[in-house]
Symmetry: C2
Subunit: 317 residues, 2 copies
């Protein structure tokens, strides 16, 4: 049964969170929240638009997951602990069949990371989902894009490119849906929050890869006023990705695919082995290059320079 706007947020999005720092959650004009003393607030916002960030007809669970995951990934990239989220939903209709699984997907991820949904807004319109997240970090330990120094080791976490290959499979009609592991990586990418925590105070710079490794590396270098040498032969290619695509296509997915929300980060050389060992308990992290003083990104393969391919995804390009 179609519901009024006034019911939607309270009906689907006012589960208790058990967080004692939520003084007032969904249901008033704004949320009242308690930030712990000595920690900075970390805040980000991201929007998903139907047909651009998710395919029409995508499972609502996956959209609920993605809308929060992309934001939690921003907190991971700052080394922050997530706390609260605000949700703004523009929907063409208010049917239970979409909202119930959307809420389930969002809450499954929120509960796994102790995030409370503390407010929201629902309007009728095209299907557009915006989430804002807030979390905490000690200001001196926050991970930033600026801070990479010549000589620092460049790392990427996990298995970038899998999500892009999953989306590619869906678009091409080759995927069977959620029983395809690459599609699951696209629809249910896991924000690297534990890795972000481990890196705080240890990585010299970090960001999450949302628009492709190569394009995002250029942004990290620009923010840090340095350059990088990227070893194409050391890019991680997952077993599943390698099984499904030729080597060259794998490399393109790794270099220019987004949506995995892996972390790209730099560590001073003398700390690199320690970080590598500690991180391995969470997930593999891969040394893929080194920071240099000269601006720009240079690619090499087996020690020889090579033209860098791929580019970041630009919605307005």
């Amino acid at each position: 049964m179609p519901l009024g706007e006034f019911d939607l947020i309270e009906r689907y999005f006012s589960r208790g969170s058990g967080r004692s720092d939520v003084l007032l959650g969904v249901g008033d004009d704004a949320a009242l929240l308690e930030v712990p003393a000595g920690r900075a607030l970390v805040a980000a916002v991201d929007t998903l638009v139907e047909g651009r960030h998710f395919l029409p007809g995508a499972p609502p669970e996956s959209i609920g997951h993605q809308a929060l995951a992309v934001n939690l990934s921003d907190l991971a990239a700052m080394g922050a602990d997530p706390a609260w989220a605000l949700l703004s939903l523009s929907l063409p209709d208010s049917g239970d069949a979409w909202l119930q699984p959307f809420a389930a997907g969002l809450y499954a991820l929120a509960e796994r990371h102790g995030v409370a949904l503390v407010g929201g807004d629902t309007v009728r319109g095209p299907r557009v989902v915006t989430v804002a997240v807030m979390g905490f970090v000690e200001p001196g330990l926050a991970l930033r894009r600026a801070g990479a120094q010549p000589g620092d080791v460049l790392f990427i976490s996990g298995w970038p490119g899998e999500a892009a290959a999953g989306l590619d499979a869906l678009r091409g009609g080759a995927a069977r849906g959620d029983d395809d592991p690459l599609v699951r990586r696209y629809r249910y990418a896991e924000p690297r929050l534990a890795l972000g925590r481990l890196l705080r105070g240890r990585a010299s710079a970090a960001m999450d890869v949302s628009d492709g490794l190569l394009g995002d590396l250029r942004k990290l270098c620009a923010a840090s006023a340095v350059g990088a040498r990227l070893a194409l032969d050391r890019l991680p290619v997952s077993t599943e990705l390698a099984r499904r695509h030729e080597a060259k296509a794998c490399e393109q997915f790794v270099l220019s695919g987004g949506d995995d929300y892996e972390l790209l980060f730099t560590v001073p050389a003398d700390r690199a082995a320690g970080v590598e060992n500690d991180a391995a308990r969470l997930l593999p992290v891969h040394r893929i290059g080194v920071i240099e003083a000269a601006a720009g990104v240079r690619c090499e393969r087996d020690g020889r320079e090579e033209q860098c391919g791929g580019a970041g995804y630009d919605h307005f390009a």
Copy 2:
């Protein structure tokens, strides 16, 4: 010239704010912000959709203003001091002709209230504008919807209904645009932040009127588990509204119009005169009724009960 997504936020929305509590603003994965000790964080989010919250072809300045104003109004309704905003823009194109005046409208209001824009996201899609705002309040002094007690005096600030009449004039083609004072009230409503501050610790309950006085009063009563008696003959009707419409139409605009962002609030009877006098230095506030124990809203005119008309605006009704 069309710009890439990566340039949009930094190009249009990264003006310095002078706020020393912004440790890191636009340009990283998330903002780093310092919340003052002893104050609670107050957070809200609201979305405007083209064709629903603003007319196609509306001046971009007014959309920039409205997107922030509707959110600041939520902070006003909590008695909070605004601090920071996040912006998420879905746009069909990235032309300067729209973005420049949109940013100007948003910043004009932000600067007037000392709000720093600390982050954002730009995507291509239908024209949908989401703003999340954050501010502070001492938790014990925050205004809530719950808290009204039988015997409390019910107030409304300013001149509700003017904005709805302005929108009506625009829709009917009767308005000349921004030189019509009612249209200006619709497009450039002022969030009642100073009044919210004055009320904190003094009003027993408060909310901003965004969906119509009568519908919002019902929500305030439900949140407080009380009812109200509303004096229709005491509803404020501005000179401009009275000049343009019959008495009955004026009453409908006042009862069911949104978009003025006036504050609806209750004050214990023994404090009502003090609040009234102090508020008068900012703007008129009007006694329009009294809180009663029995649930529901009862209307009266010249001491006689009358059927209440109008209803809150419901996007999905």
